[in-house]
């Protein structure tokens, strides 16, 4: 672990401004039982600057942010606002003091509307009555200002993940703040939404707000940050002016070693018969007559804007939504019954994009989570074998580099990125031959990203197939042998070889007429059909 650092903490930039920092942490330490999650963190954020925090999964970034915003009390250390000691008894106190956190996970009441959530605890009222009109109007303004497409009256529980995240951001920006903390705000957003958000952050800075910004997307960090603090294993490595660090340097500081090339080399074009082929699959409220196939040794990328029906398509394939298909073959045999369980027996698994709601049992320990889908693997003739299960967990923790303080934590106590890795380990427990991964590196740090790419590469090299649904264009371009682009529930383009470029994907995903997307691309026949879809896709982002 203790690799020599190219730049040491003493390189910390001397602060030039004369004002005391808007928010400062002095010697913050957080322990859970015997586990020290964060030790002696010292940090300051000034008005009108964007201060980025980077670090590996489980480094303690979210913990630090929660300490700064009153969500959890520190074990040791204290906070200062404008030079004065403050005690944030809870999040509401911090908010009242002008410090707000946009949580890494969605923290909104699912049964309430967007506007109701935004104003929860500080409702506008006229006399005794809540003033819904004013609140809805104000909500609509804030939503518009950050480029969100949801409406004030939408129930949060019905919204797609990205819109929920935007609603959460809107909540933080509803009132003037002194300090706004973003914990991986862009993890579930697509490119255009990210761009809008970055503008919002710049706007905050221009207005003299102090911004703390956590992201695993180092390009964002580079584009935004004035200063960058690196955390590793709960310790502060140091703070640097952003101009001193390149993306490469950041990655090195985070991981403590040189980083390899991010994407594995492309494999030779696979040939041979498809492992999975789907003919005209339609999903209620999702996809329209989508046809596709994936061969052994192939990574099939699925691109498209958020809301284009990618997740719905594959949830339909897995029998998790009402869906109809003309024909589906797996390894040249027709598949009759489609449920998650049947597919698992056929060797096909799906990794959901919503790890909190659909992926992991947050209140259960790690082992039951890991083995839920593959209980046979930890079963002796008679019963579940706990020691086998523990061994499986230890192996998974090693194989997937899941950073845990103890094997007895609940899944909900893992850091966001480690939850994602646990989820990956969980679906891989079944030893599948076709793996469908929805947003594979959501919340994964840069070092582990390449690990996951390597992992996918090894998987297909061993004769299996992988379908990757991703909103990160570089990921699609770097990983996929072939990319299907979806728009409004239809597969509108198929890109191969050199035609897999970010521009082509974006063009196909947003262009009014798929035929003109890129004339040299072979277009999918089904998608080329009529585009006047009466189909109800909830949040087309074009």
């Amino acid at each position: 672990m203790a690799a020599t650092l190219p730049i040491t903490a003493t390189a910390q930039m001397a602060d030039t401004s004369t004002d005391p920092p808007a928010l400062a942490a002095a010697g913050l330490t957080k322990t859970y039982g015997a586990i020290t999650v964060l030790s002696n963190a010292t940090l300051d954020i000034h008005a009108g600057e964007v201060h980025a925090i980077i670090g590996e999964n489980g480094a303690g970034k979210s913990t630090l942010m929660k300490l700064l915003s009153g969500y959890v009390p520190p074990t040791e250390g204290r906070l200062l606002m404008a030079g004065q000691p403050v005690d944030f008894a809870d999040a509401a106190v911090a908010e009242a003091a002008g410090v707000v956190l946009v949580h890494q996970e969605i923290l909104l009441a699912p049964d309430l509307t967007v506007a109701e959530n935004l104003f929860l605890g500080r409702e506008l009222s006229r006399g005794a009555m809540v003033d819904d009109r004013a609140m809805n109007q104000r909500t609509a303004e804030v939503l518009a200002s950050i480029g969100a497409h949801c409406r004030p009256r939408d129930r949060v529980g019905n919204l797609p993940l990205a819109q929920r995240q935007l609603a959460q951001i809107a909540r933080a920006l509803l009132e003037p703040r002194k300090v706004v903390i973003f914990d991986e705000p862009t993890a579930v957003l697509a490119n255009d939404e990210v761009a809008a958000l970055l503008d919002v952050v710049r706007g905050l800075r221009a207005n003299g707000v102090a911004v703390l910004y956590i992201s695993h997307r180092l390009d964002e960090v580079e584009a935004l940050a004035d200063r960058i603090t690196v955390l590793r294993d709960g310790k502060m490595i140091g703070t640097w002016p952003a101009s001193d660090l390149t993306q490469r340097k950041m990655a090195e500081l985070m991981v403590g070693r040189e980083l390899d090339v991010l994407y594995p080399a492309k494999r030779p074009q696979p040939s041979g018969s498809p492992l999975l082929s789907v003919d005209q699959l339609s999903v209620d409220h999702g996809a329209v007559e989508a046809s596709f196939a994936v061969r052994r040794g192939e990574v099939l990328g699925i691109g498209g804007m958020i809301g284009s029906g990618r997740t719905e398509l594959f949830e339909g394939l897995l029998g998790l939504r009402t869906a109809h298909a003309v024909r589906i073959d797996m390894a040249d045999l027709p598949v009759q019954h489609r449920s998650v369980k049947d597919w698992r027996e056929h060797g096909l698994v799906y990794l959901t994009e919503d790890r909190k709601g659909k992926g992991l049992l947050l209140e259960e320990p790690l082992a039951p989570n890991l083995t839920l889908q593959a209980l046979d693997r930890v079963h002796t003739r008679l019963a579940l074998d706990r020691s086998k299960e523990t061994r499986a967990l230890q192996k998974a923790v090693g194989d997937y580099d899941i950073r845990v303080g103890s094997l007895h934590l609940n899944a909900g106590q893992l850091s966001g990125g480690n939850q994602q890795k646990l989820l990956l380990a969980k679906v891989m427990m079944t030893d599948p031959s076709v793996v469908i991964i929805d947003e594979p590196t959501r919340g994964i740090d840069i070092g582990n990203k390449s690990q996951i790419y390597d992992f996918i590469d090894q998987l297909v090299r061993s004769g299996k197939a992988c379908i990757v649904i991703s909103s990160e264009l570089p990921e699609l371009v770097g990983l996929a042998d072939r990319v299907l682009v979806m728009r409004a529930g239809r597969v509108v383009a198929e890109l191969t070889g050199d035609h897999i470029t970010e521009q082509n994907v974006v063009y196909a995903a947003t262009s009014g007429d798929a035929h003109e997307a890129s004339p040299q691309d072979r277009l999918n026949r089904n998608g080329a059909g009529d585009q006047n879809d009466k189909h109800n896709i909830e949040y087309p982002s074009g």
């Binding site: 129930r155 939504r321 449920s339």
Partner: protein, 329 residues
């Protein structure tokens, strides 16, 4: 193949389409229609007035329960609390009747409201401060209130003073502009309840707490206060129901209000409020209370069912009503 299009990250089955709001009223309409078809006596003015009037008790209590349930709790003690409050009220009225005459009724009613609120507060504090599962906490207080009324009545009954009967009678049997007074009171309680729940900050926070206590807490909403207040509202509703109830039967006994808690919760759930909290439907609750009362009325009016099997038929009808509800969605 399971077909659920919901993205809701919440475990329990739920519904959320506009139909859901209409469900209980459609179910009520169906039950009424069946009633009219089954029995010619059903649709007479007197009968309908009777049924509607008597559904007032359950409806009023269930409006309070809508608050408790939507805030994510449950109150099993309402039936016993009703008996206890009724007992206290009668004792106080009887005590003051000699000196105050009919005005003792106001004394009693006032005392009832105070005692009801206090009982609700007790429940609320045990649940929120004691952090005890509401099911168990209110099961405990259910035993406590029931025992208190038994003790107060020495195992017998607490009758209201005869002299108070006539002045008090109209509260149940009278009407204003042709509307029976208990019905008017129910409407008033429902209106106030709907106002609080849908139009005030407290109501917002109540459903927010039921939807996600964590989120509410992080937003600076005091979960403890909100839930305690819901129990107090429940207690007040119980007291209001008791005020309407006394002139009808004129006595409190250890069996008063027995098993009402089940009827109340059923009315709330039939009305479309989710038992896990987060969603509240005051008018649905009122419809739910009416459905239950109409079903009981039909059981009496029609002669098709052996007396032993009445409970079974009621059970079946409630399940069918819920199913209808479901399919309407």
């Amino acid at each position: 193949m399971t077909s659920t299009t919901s993205n809701i990250p919440v475990a329990r089955p739920s519904g959320r389409i506009p139909w859901a709001a209409l469900g209980p009223f459609i179910a009520l309409a169906i039950v009424l229609l069946v009633g009219v078809m089954l029995n010619t006596n059903f649709a007479t003015g007197t009968n309908i007035a009777n049924v509607v009037t008597r559904s007032a008790f359950i409806a009023i209590i269930a409006i309070g329960a809508t608050f408790v349930i939507s805030s994510g709790c449950l109150d099993l003690s309402v039936g016993s609390m009703m008996a206890f409050v009724t007992g206290i009220m009668i004792l106080i009225m009887n005590r003051f009747e000699p000196s105050m005459g009919a005005n003792a009724i106001f004394m009693g009613a006032g005392a009832g409201l105070v005692v009801g609120a206090a009982c609700g507060l007790l429940n609320g504090v045990i649940v929120t401060v004691g952090k005890i599962e509401p099911f168990i906490a209110t099961l405990g207080t259910m035993g406590i209130f029931r025992a208190l009324i038994t003790w107060m009545s020495d195992g017998g009954s607490i009758p209201m003073d005869r002299a108070l009967r006539d002045p008090y009678r109209p509260i149940y049997f009278g009407d204003v502009l042709g509307i029976p007074i208990p019905v008017a009171i129910t409407l008033a309680v429902a209106l106030v309840g709907a106002f609080i729940l849908y139009r005030t900050k407290y109501g917002r926070r109540c459903t927010a707490v039921g939807s996600s206590a964590d989120v509410a807490r992080f937003s600076g909403v005091s979960v403890t206060k909100v839930r305690t207040m819901a129990f107090v509202i429940q207690g007040l509703c119980v007291a209001i129901a008791a005020i309407c109830y006394i002139p009808r039967l004129g006595a409190a006994t250890p069996t008063t209000g027995q098993l009402w808690e089940l009827q109340v919760i059923t009315a709330v759930v039939i009305g479309g409020t989710l038992l896990r909290g987060g969603k509240a439907r005051i008018w649905g609750t009122v419809a739910g209370a009416l459905i239950l009362e109409v079903i009981a009325n039909l059981m009496v009016l029609s002669n098709m069912v052996s007396e032993y099997l009445v409970a079974a038929v009621q059970g079946v009808i409630i399940i069918l009503a819920m199913l209808a509800h479901r399919f309407i969605k």
